[in-house]
Structure formats: structure tokens, C-alpha cells
């Protein structure tokens, strides 16, 4: 029996149209806008002002708290302005506008293709590099990576899980880096495993990506034969089921352990990092390269195959620039998603720029994405069957519509991971997650408020 998580889950379409498109490097535009809020936690504080000269890889904003991250310039040139600009949702966020001049990197960055397989021994120095290079989780939440790699006192990591599930339909950026940068990912895993005290590391990949499984296994075998520090790493194929790549689901699938409500993965000895994060860790530690690039998929059913792409982009590139470069926004596109179709965000503003965690420009047609008219709940229970957290969305939405906060908390609304399985499955088109998401925020506020009072 192939492993997977034990509760709920759904099987949305298995489409990965752009899977055979090699990663192409996007040319640098004449101007970039770099956001200071590219990570979970406090937005970084800008340390440059209009008129300053910057180089590629230079720090332009510093962390403003424990959970925060460094932001580096992705281009060389002159800072034009520092001020508010709209992000993909249309909210104002401080961006640093830079006019591009040449492509001059800061000193110390290794830009060669040489693979550095020898892992440094000083864990403190490694963590410092990860932090200084602004590495954040690239699986969606953009949580600062160094924080996750420093378990709090008394907690110990039993397993490092590398998330290569890429369970969202359409997305292929993780798949491509697993094929094209396999060794770098394995080295990143070995580095993180060493920092965590040498626990085993498992690279989890869904069975619908056999080429990726093969490539990662081959890279691992080669490194294990050639260098030290690669023992205890393995590749595990997982059954295809959404949301396999959810942190809690992946821990359940790989370790058969479940994180308690409101708990953290480290409570059950797990640390989960995305394969793209592992690549960023490799580049930071072995190449001194800060996190200023990532891979992004341009895809959608309404795009012909030759217009499907996987791009290596630099942070701060306007999405409209990428869309134009890729051949323009297709006529039939009714909605553009940043991220996957299940959990990604609809883009309200295509002039917004790429951030560290950008993973796609996904074009959906009206036929695909416009929701049907809501009708009466027929109590089929398909939402509860689908919920990977074992919640009962039909019940939660009823309590939420009546503002029954105690009942919502008793029925664990705070555990919702917003994967969208309930809304996807509902035959009556009830906006389950829309309602639950809002109520969940309120309940968590109540729980936090109570914790502060006590």
C-alpha cells in the first residue's frame, strides 16, 4: 500500500500541462518593484532610500522582528522610490522601486554552475547564512526557514520531510526543479538534516510524477556514493491525493503522526520544508546566493502548448511583464491565479510584482471557475468526507451563519487549513469555505484573547 494521509482528501483534475517545459531564464526588465512583505510575519524595514545605488544580492530591507526576513535587491541599479504600491490583492504594501542598470552582483556570490557537495560543519554559521540570505518557505506560507530549523528548547526533530508532493493541479515548478536541480535539492536536504541534529530526511513525491521520483533517487544515489553526509535520506512515493502537500497531511502520510490542534509540527518531531526551499538553502549555504529567484509556471487550459512555460524569475518583476513576455494574457482567461487552483489567490492587479513565494500565473476560463448557483444543502455529507482535518463543514457553516462561537470552537473550526476540499465537493454549491474562513478568524481571535487574559 502506497502511503498517504488518513483522513479525507479529494481527487481534482490531474492536469500538469506545462510539465515538459524546461525552465527558461526570464530577462531582467528595466524596472523592478520589490515588496518588503514577502514572508509570513512582520514586513521588513527598508534600509535604502531614493537615489541609492544597489547591486544584485544587496540587502535592501532588514527583518523587523523574530518572525521576519531579509529582503535583497534582485537587480543592480538606482533606487527610484520607496513607498506604497498595490500587491496582487490590491492592498498597499511598501515596495522598493529600482531602475535597472547592468547586472552587477555583490561580492562573494558563487555564480558558477559547479556543484558544491561538501557540507560545512558549523551549524551556527549555516543557520546564519540561511537567515542572512532571506530564505523563506516556498511551499506557500513563506515562513522564515531559519526559524523552523531551530527547534525550541526541549523539542527535537525526529524527521525532516521534504515536500515534493505538488498536489495542486496545473503547477509544475516543483516538478521541474526536481528534474533539473535534483542534486542541489538533495544537498539542501542534507544541510538541513545536519542542522536539525542528523535526523532522517524523507523526500515525499506523489506517484503521478514518476520522472521526478526517478531523478531524485538517482541524484541521491550518486551523492551518497560520492560524498559524506548523505546517509539517512530517502525518497518516498505517495499516493496521489489532494491536499497531500499540506503540512499536517504530509506528516500524517510520512510519519503516521498527527499534530495536535493549534500545535506545531515540531511538537511531533517533524520539520517540513518544500523542495524549492531546499534549493534556496543550497544556494544560500553553498553559493552565498540570497533568495532573489524562484521558479514560476505560466499555464492554463486556454493557453496553447507553445505558450506554456516554467520560468526562473527574479523577485520584483511585474506579473504583467511576465505575462507579456510569455505571449500575453489569453482572451478566454476569466480569472488569473497566483498559486494553485485550490489554494492560490485570484489576482486583482496584474501590475503587482513577483515575490519570493510566487509559483504561477494560472489562467482559468469562465467555464472552469465560475461557481454555480447555491442551492439547499441535501445533507449528503460529501464535505465531511472530503475534509482532510475530519471537520464537518456542513455543521460549521450552519453555526457560522448563526454566529454560534462556542459551538464553532467545540467543533474545531480553528483546525481548518483552508484547503478548499469542502467547497470543491459540495454538489449544492454552498460557499462552505468562504463562510468558514471568516468565522475561523473570529474564533482564533477569541482563543488568542483568552490565552492572553490567563
Amino acid at each position: 500500500m502506497m502511503k498517504t494521509f488518513s483522513i479525507g482528501g479529494i481527487h481534482p483534475s490531474d492536469k500538469k500541462i506545462s510539465k515538459d517545459c524546461k525552465i527558461e531564464v526570464l530577462p531582467v526588465p528595466s524596472k523592478v518593484f520589490i515588496s518588503v512583505a514577502q514572508h509570513l510575519g512582520a514586513p521588513a524595514t527598508p534600509v535604502v532610500k531614493a537615489g541609492d545605488q544597489v547591486k544584485v544580492g544587496q540587502v535592501i530591507a532588514e527583518p523587523a522582528g523574530f518572525i521576519s526576513a531579509y529582503v535583497h535587491s534582485s537587480v543592480s541599479g538606482t533606487v527610484k522610490s520607496v513607498g506604497p504600491r498595490k500587491d496582487i490583492a490590491g492592498n498597499n504594501v511598501v515596495h522598493i522601486e529600482i531602475d535597472v542598470e547592468g547586472d552587477e552582483w555583490v561580492e562573494g556570490v558563487d555564480l558558477s554552475d559547479t556543484l558544491v557537495t561538501e557540507i560545512p560543519q558549523d551549524n551556527k554559521a549555516i543557520l546564519d547564512k540561511i537567515k542572512m540570505c532571506g530564505v523563506v518557505g516556498l511551499g506557500g506560507a513563506t515562513f522564515p526557514a531559519h526559524v523552523k530549523l531551530c527547534p525550541p528548547p526541549g523539542k527535537k526533530a525526529d524527521c525532516l520531510i521534504l515536500n515534493g508532493a505538488e498536489c495542486e493541479p496545473y503547477l509544475t515548478s516543483d516538478y521541474r526543479i526536481m528534474l533539473e536541480r535534483s542534486k542541489e535539492i538533495v544537498i539542501g536536504a542534507a544541510i538541513m538534516k545536519q542542522v536539525l541534529g542528523g535526523c532522517p530526511a524523507v523526500i515525499g513525491i506523489e506517484e503521478n510524477k514518476p520522472e521526478a521520483i526517478k531523478a531524485m533517487k538517482a541524484a541521491l544515489a550518486e551523492l551518497q556514493a560520492a560524498a559524506k553526509g548523505y546517509e539517512g535520506i530517502s525518497v518516498m512515493s505517495l499516493k496521489k491525493k489532494y491536499p497531500q502537500g499540506g503540512e499536517k497531511q504530509l506528516i500524517d502520510a510520512v510519519m503516521k503522526r498527527q499534530v495536535k490542534s493549534m500545535g506545531l509540527p515540531i511538537d511531533v518531531g517533524a520539520v517540513v520544508q518544500n523542495v524549492a526551499t531546499s534549493l534556496a538553502v543550497y544556494e544560500a549555504v553553498q553559493k552565498n546566493k540570497p533568495l532573489i529567484t524562484n521558479t514560476l509556471t505560466v499555464t492554463g487550459d486556454c493557453l496553447p502548448l507553445e505558450k506554456q512555460h516554467n520560468y526562473l524569475f527574479r523577485i520584483g518583476m511585474p506579473l504583467s511583464y511576465i505575462a507579456e513576455y510569455a505571449g500575453g494574457v489569453p482572451e478566454e482567461a476569466a480569472k488569473i491565479i497566483s498559486g494553485g487552483p485550490m489554494m492560490g489567490k485570484a489576482i486583482a492587479n496584474l501590475d503587482a510584482t513577483t515575490v519570493k513565494g510566487s509559483s504561477s500565473l494560472l489562467y482559468l476560463t469562465a467555464e472552469q471557475t465560475v461557481r454555480g448557483v447555491e442551492s439547499a444543502c441535501i445533507r449528503c455529507g460529501k464535505c465531511a468526507e472530503a475534509c482532510p482535518m475530519g471537520l464537518e463543514p456542513f455543521l460549521l457553516q450552519k453555526y457560522a451563519r448563526n454566529s454560534m462561537m462556542d459551538e464553532l470552537e467545540e467543533n474545531a473550526i480553528q483546525d481548518c487549513i483552508e484547503c478548499g476540499c469542502c467547497l470543491y465537493s459540495c454538489p449544492a454549491n454552498i460557499p462552505l469555505l468562504d463562510i468558514i474562513r471568516i468565522a475561523k478568524g473570529d474564533v482564533i481571535k477569541i482563543i488568542r484573547g483568552r490565552a492572553i487574559k490567563n
Binding site: Q258, A333, A384, S425, C426, R437
Partner: protein
């Protein structure tokens, strides 16, 4: 492009809709409908036609003139009620009795509660039980009308249902019956009770299309088998055997199509299992010790009333709790 849709995730939706689920149930009923029409002929067609047409008409009139809401005929649920009501009646039922059944099913059992999704009791069963109590003569008249094809077994036994015979004469009365024949063609009874194979075909379709989960149906059948098994082993002269009890009467029709109704069955798996066990036990208590030869309808309706409690007691297993 100038007008991009911006809405919260998820951005995709399953193709399964209320309409497609309900239509699948109707498709699953086709084998049973075909068998009943073949053997009961024009009179069965009349019962089916009047039942479905009345259910549709009544739901339309009630939504339009009483509730003043949008028309709900498109969801196919009224068609299911119509077909199930017809399959629960003898083929000889007069058209006006069928119509009264539809009034009770749609008017009282379904729309009074607020329509699809709100009703506590299975509408078709409320209609049937109302008729059974109000018009006992019509409802127990198993005289066999002229069918499109004839079958010597059916003709030989017309006039009584196997359960009716067993009630009157005890197990000896049904000793001569061939279970293989019963599997394919029951002998006398409501239209929907005729062929176990036709009903099982529908069950397989519902499972393959993932319309229902098997646990309610299986727990009913399992309970009936265990319950009657114990009594049969203790005293074969007094009690009918398990296989007879599973193949006869409305057990399969009820267990596959009526007890699994989304609206009136529990939401959770274990709630469903308890629901099924309850239906099985009550059915057998009525069959062995009650005044009626058949008890499936009563059993399901009684357990329907327990569903809110079962929903309160049984919940899904939550992650990490």
C-alpha cells in the same frame, strides 16, 4: 481581460451537482422499473405515470403559489419520490389513491418542512404508509394484473406476498419457494419488490458512481441476517430463515433506495451503521411479532426520527484529536 474575476479559493469545482446525484438515483431505479412494467403491464405504467406526474405537479404548484420560491423541479428529487412511491404500491392501486399518496409525500412530508434537504422523514415512505393505513384493502390487493410477459411462477402465486404467506401459514407455507427464482423474480408484492437482481444492479450503479456509501445498506441486511439467523436456528418451525427475509418484501428496495436517502439518514459513518442496525431490528420485530407481514417502511420511518440524535452523538474522527 479588463474584467478579471476575483474571488476566494478554491477556484475549481467538482462536476457532481445535486441534479447529477439525483439523476443517478433515477438511473439506478431503471432496472426495477423495467421489471415491474414487464410483469405488471399497463396498470403498473399508469401507477408510475400518475405518481411521477403528481409529484412534479404538486411540487411546482407549491413552490410557485404557496412558498413563492424558485422552481425546484430541475433537481430531479421530485422524480425520485414519484418513482419510489410507485414502486412501493401494488400495481392495481387506483389512480386517485396514487394521487393522494403523492399529495401526502410531496405536500406534507416534503414541502411543509421547507422542501429538499429539510424534511425529517422520507417523503415516498410517508406517502406509502399513509395509504397503507388509510386504504388497507387497495394496499394489500396483490391480484396480478396482465403483464407484457407472463411467468408461471408469478402467476401461480398471485394473490399473496411471500411474507403474507409466511405470516399466515408459518415457514411451512413458503418452504416450496425457490430462492433462485426469488432472486430474479419475487412472487407477488409491490412493483419494486419484484426482482432482487434489478435492485442489486441499481445498488452497484450507485456505488460505482459514488452516490452512496455502502454501510447503511449493508448494516440493514447484516442485521436482518443475524437477527433472523438466531431465531431460525433456535426454532426453524416457527421462524423464517435469513435468506428468505433478505430476498422477500421491500427489504432490498428499502435498504438500497429509501434508507440511504441523504436528507433523512445520518451524516456520519457510525451514525449510519447504528441507523441501519435499528432499521434491521425493527423490521424483523414487526415481521416476526407484529400485526403486519412487512415492516421495512415503518422501521425506516421510525429510525428517520432518530437521525437528529445520531447526528448529535456521532461525529467524524478529527485530525490530531
Amino acid at each position: 481581460m479588463d474584467k478579471l474575476i476575483v474571488s476566494p479559493s478554491p477556484h475549481l469545482h467538482t462536476k457532481t451537482s445535486t441534479k447529477s446525484l439525483m439523476r443517478d438515483v433515477v438511473i439506478a431505479l431503471i432496472p426495477a422499473v423495467v421489471v415491474s412494467v414487464l410483469f405488471y403491464g399497463w396498470s403498473e405504467l399508469l401507477v408510475l405515470g400518475v405518481s411521477v406526474a403528481s409529484c412534479l405537479l404538486l411540487e411546482y404548484l407549491i413552490t410557485k403559489y404557496l412558498l413563492k420560491t424558485s422552481c425546484t423541479l430541475g433537481d430531479w428529487s421530485a422524480v425520485i419520490t414519484g418513482v419510489l412511491l410507485a414502486l412501493n404500491l401494488p400495481a392495481t392501486t387506483p389512480w386517485w389513491v396514487v394521487f393522494i399518496g403523492a399529495v401526502v409525500a410531496i405536500g406534507i412530508a416534503k414541502m411543509t418542512f421547507g422542501g429538499l434537504g429539510q424534511n425529517l422523514f422520507n417523503p415516498a415512505l410517508v406517502g406509502r404508509v399513509f395509504l397503507l393505513i388509510s386504504f388497507p384493502t387497495y394496499m394489500t390487493d396483490w391480484a396480478k394484473p396482465q403483464g407484457f410477459i407472463t411467468n408461471s411462477i408469478v402467476d401461480a402465486y398471485s394473490g399473496a406476498t411471500p411474507l403474507g404467506i409466511a405470516k399466515g401459514l408459518g415457514p411451512q407455507g413458503v418452504e416450496a419457494m425457490d430462492y433462485l427464482n426469488m432472486l430474479f423474480l419475487n412472487i407477488g408484492g409491490s412493483a419494486g419488490e419484484l426482482s432482487a437482481i434489478a435492485l442489486l444492479l441499481g445498488f452497484a450503479y450507485l456505488l460505482i458512481r459514488k452516490v452512496i456509501k455502502p454501510y447503511i445498506t449493508l448494516s440493514i441486511i447484516g442485521t436482518v441476517a443475524v437477527f433472523s439467523g438466531i431465531f431460525y436456528l433456535a426454532n426453524p418451525a416457527e421462524y423464517t430463515d435469513p435468506l428468505f427475509n433478505i430476498l422477500s418484501g421491500g427489504l432490498l428496495l428499502g435498504a438500497i433506495f429509501m434508507a440511504t436517502d441523504y436528507v433523512t439518514s445520518p451524516m456520519s459513518k457510525w451514525g449510519g451503521v447504528v441507523f441501519g442496525v435499528g432499521i434491521g431490528v425493527i423490521t424483523m420485530l414487526i415481521r416476526y411479532f407484529g400485526a403486519y407481514p412487512e415492516g421495512v417502511s415503518f422501521a425506516i420511518l421510525i429510525m428517520n426520527s432518530v437521525v437528529p440524535l445520531l447526528n448529535k452523538w456521532f461525529h467524524t474522527k478529527k485530525y490530531g484529536r
